[in-house]
């Protein structure tokens, strides 16, 4: 059922930019269109690119914000989230925690 919804109306998660748009709803309480506009602007892509896995794979690999099939040496997991915080200009709680521990 979750898969049916994901294909019928979901943004695609980290195959595309779904996780990034979700972050804007969660950190700034943005409605969907505002969140999409914000992310598209920060990534310098169009709104339609946000749900295109081919375009977004290139963008994600270039910015090192996490990709489905990570290449050796690229940023992954928590490392990629440090870059996401930077690219989207938002605070991510687990990254803030590292900063508070004096690790960044």
């Amino acid at each position: 059922m979750a898969v049916s919804h994901a294909i019928a109306s979901g943004m695609g998660g980290m195959r595309t930019a779904g996780d990034l748009v979700a972050r804007m709803q969660m950190t700034r309480g943005m409605k969907i269109q505002e969140a999409k506009n914000y992310v598209a602007d920060k990534l310098n892509v169009s709104i339609s690119d946000l749900t295109d896995p081919v375009v977004m794979t290139e963008v994600r690999e270039e910015l090192e914000i996490g990709s489905l099939n990570p290449l050796p040496g690229c940023l992954k997991g928590l490392e990629a989230k440090m870059r996401i915080a930077e690219v989207l200009d938002i605070d991510i709680n687990c990254i803030r925690r590292l900063r508070n521990k004096g690790l960044l």
Binding site: G18, M26, I32, C94
Partner: protein, 348 residues
């Protein structure tokens, strides 16, 4: 006139004529409008729903550009339930890498705040490890579940038993004491998870034990928002209206019992909730067109008044999805598309 294949609210296939389909769509929206004292769907919206159900395709989807964000309740528990032998962290990696999840959510198998409290340290460690290897925003989810605070499972006299004895005041006092304890537990567990780095807290199935349950969720959200101004709180409901099991509980002067989604969301906003998850129950004895038309009428009214993002519950037995453990893709995709496009949703 051709026959249209659709389903009943329990998922079983059924054939309808065009007139029957139009009749059920109209009856569904009228039922919601009558109960919620809200506007029914317009002729154009009903025609849009008719076209979706009349589509010959097995699977339908939103138009490109209208996609929304998905959040999940109890995601790792669902793989456990299916007897897939993976740890919760691996389960969330599967969700974000293989299932297209926009957000992920860690939860305990009991999925209630009260039983998590004594093992919160273990849960924090799992959450911290999950954060190391995942990319999508991570919720920690659980239910207020006031049922766990009444005897024999909890400390307070059982209100259902007191009511049978005519002890109305005592039953109400029991609910009120349970609210205070539940708020402490929700705040304790949520604070621990947020301190460990969670991106958000999902209070799921709120209101399952009636108006007191909903009040506990609202009060806990208010405290958490004051304590952590940046915290994301998603508050998902248990049913389409708040059951008045206490009957007289209020939040900022508004009586909670009997509230439908368009009133519930205003309470959530007052409490500082970031994302609201309304519910409309599916009736298994009515058709899916009737259920979906009815659900969309309620949710559209909610979205029209909401200032915060709305993620509608569309799992088994809610939001126009049939009450079955394995919802078919034909009806789930129709419900998904119609709900997103007619209500201008922010997420599911």
């Amino acid at each position: 006139m051709g026959k249209i294949m659709t389903r009943m609210g329990d998922g079983f296939p059924v054939e309808m004529s065009e007139n029957q389909l139009r009749g059920d769509l109209a009856a569904g929206t009228e039922d919601a409008a009558d109960r919620g004292k809200i506007s029914p769907l317009s002729k154009e919206e009903l025609q849009y729903l008719f076209d979706i159900f009349n589509s010959p395709y097995r699977f339908v989807s939103t138009e490109p550009g209208k996609e929304v964000v998905l959040s999940y309740d109890a995601a790792p528990i669902k793989l456990m339930r299916a007897a897939v032998n993976v740890h919760r962290i691996q389960s969330l990696q599967i969700h974000e890498k293989l299932l297209g999840a926009d957000t992920i959510e860690l939860g305990h198998i009991d999925y209630s705040f009260k039983p998590v409290k004594p093992i919160v340290g273990t849960e924090q460690t799992v959450l911290e490890q999950t954060l190391l290897v995942t990319h999508a925003p991570l919720f920690y989810g659980a239910m207020p579940n006031l049922g766990l605070y009444r005897q024999p499972d909890g400390p307070f006299p059982n209100p259902s038993e007191l009511m049978q004895l005519g002890k109305i005041d005592e039953a109400r006092q029991s609910y009120e004491m349970a609210v205070e304890d539940a708020v402490k537990d929700i705040v304790y567990v949520s604070s621990a998870m947020y301190d460990s780095g969670a991106d958000g807290i999902n209070m799921d199935t709120t209101g399952a034990a009636g108006d007191a349950d909903f009040l506990a969720g609202l009060k806990a959200a208010e405290i958490l928002k004051q304590k952590y101004p940046d915290i994301c709180i998603e508050l998902g409901m248990a049913g389409e209206f708040v059951l008045g099991l206490h009957g007289e509980l209020t939040y900022h002067g508004d009586r909670l019992a009997g509230m439908y989604a368009h009133d519930q969301v205003k309470m959530a906003e007052k409490a500082g909730v970031t994302i609201f998850g309304p519910v409309v129950n599916s009736k298994s004895s009515r058709s899916c067109p009737w259920n979906l038309s009815r659900a969309i009428t309620f949710i559209k009214a909610c979205c029209e008044v909401a200032n915060i993002p709305i993620h509608v519950n569309m799992g088994m037995g809610v939001g126009g999805v049939p009450m079955t453990a394995h919802p078919p893709v034909d009806i789930t995709s129709r419900a998904s598309k119609a709900m997103v496009e007619l209500c201008r949703l922010d997420g599911l």
